[in-house]
């Protein structure tokens, strides 16, 4: 995995990789990617991908209002909030 790839991947994942750890992380990732690379040798022509063992359509339920959606309770777990909103640093100057 070259420098540019690791930079892109870690940005997409919103993870910062410290310069001091970088070499070890890249070494581990390379090893894992090499290992999963063996899948490319198999013949999968005409094989339908399987994304879920049940292969069923997700069931729907009534879109009914219930008492579980309680704003105060949910906001209580927020690192920073006012009485209505989750608060984050200013995004518009």
């Amino acid at each position: 995995m070259d420098n540019k790839t690791i930079e892109t991947i870690s940005y997409l994942a919103r993870l910062k990789i410290d310069q001091s750890d970088k070499e070890n992380i890249v070494k581990d990732l390379d090893k894992i990617i090499d290992f999963i690379g063996q899948l490319q040798e198999i013949n999968t022509e005409k094989v339908e991908p399987l994304s879920n063992p049940l292969e069923m359509t997700a069931k729907k339920r009534e879109d009914a209002v219930n008492s579980d959606n309680n704003k105060e309770i949910f906001l209580k777990n927020a690192p920073n909030s006012d009485e209505d909103y989750f608060l984050v640093p200013k995004v518009v100057e």
Binding site: A13, R14, P49, L50, F74, A78, P89
Partner: protein
Amino acid sequence: MKINFKSVTDIKNLLTKKEISSKELLDETFDSIEKSSLNAFISLNKEQAYRCSEAYDQGNLHGDLAGIPIAQKDLFCTKDLRTTCASKILSDFIPPYDATVVQNFNDAGSICIGKTNMDEFAMGSSNETSYFGEVSNPWAKDYVPGGSSGGSAAAVAAGIVPIATGTDTGGSIRQPAALCGISGIKPTYGRASRWGMIAFASSLDQAGVFARTAEDCAIGLNQICKYDPKDTTSVDCKKEDFSEAIKRNIQDIKIGIVREFDLSNLDDSVQNAFQNSIKVFESLGATFKEISLKNIGLSVPTYYVVAPAECSSNLSRFDGVKYGYRCETPKDLSDLYIRSRSEGFGDEVKRRILIGTYVLSAGFYDAYYKKAQQARRLIKDDFDLAFNEVDLILAPSSPGPAFKKGSKSSDPLEMYLEDLFTISANLAGIPAMSIPHGFSNGMPIGLQLIGNFLQESQILRAAHHFQLETDWHKMTPEGNMQ
């Protein structure tokens, strides 16, 4: 009265006959947690538990499991009780609701005594990736208990609780059950609700239970194998009484041995235990047949594409905004996301998020993710064919016994191979169980029984009759509990 290592049914009888009060039972339970010094628990639920015991002792707590102490893996949300997933990022998280599995056990009257330690976000096979420190194996403190549900397995193996919950994404119930010398079952994907389970890999995750015996596992599954409209992948099938189903003998059962599982590289003791267990099943009237799972060798690489891909997607919700850890003084929103996640996740979790992001990224998607999903189809098709010929498949649960702490943590690939025998059941979505069946260098080893879709009862029945015939499940770190 010493209640350690007693079964669910034994404890139920003691409580019903009033030979022990619920309060005394909890006193002993919390006392043994302290004495065990295994670090098996992240949070204890003392206050609430004693409130329940008081209700029980006053005749106000009812249900199939009334008064039975249970340990919940710290991956299940518990209302008003801290749920961390063994991560710094959730170290202060107090869920406003109970997971369905937790609710199921509460409804049955069991008493949740605490939340068990685990690998961070269930990513690991040794319980060494927990933010709250590693867990010790009750058989030898410098050995790992396996993972990811290591705390639950250790708590049952040490005789602290008769039953505990776990989750199994690639072997996280079966491998620690094996390494701790107890029984543990992962039901069919969709059979127990995932609602309120903190997601790792949603197409693989499944809740299950640990206990000393198959009989107690059946009691546990009776509570959690229920249709749940809150889980869109919940299977709507007829409710079964597993305790009843295990009684019938196993003379009708055909068992498959997998040609492609080469056991010759494993320890002699592991090979011998396997051969001896085959003989036990034969003596019970089961018949054996060699079967082929020709793509089984693809399981581990397939899993290490699918699981990280789903993990990178699921864990994107941890952003320091709505709940969980937030970094100090973020300079803007991007900094808040990046630093909260980088400071909040441990190394193995980051590694899997990065791999998942890589295999899902433009240009690599077809080469890795699509290919892995095709391989997954091949693996599942092999099982479908095999189950036309046999009812159960027998295999080791793990390549060897518990290993020393630190001995595999430097090489992620070596750790991944711990799940060599367990991963395929998750990819195919089928039920599987580990039961104790011998020792290697003084440490317990496990036998895995894999069943067809929704055939938990056959697995439990075979395991139960095996345990009627053998004593491995009676062995404890403190000796043989006859």
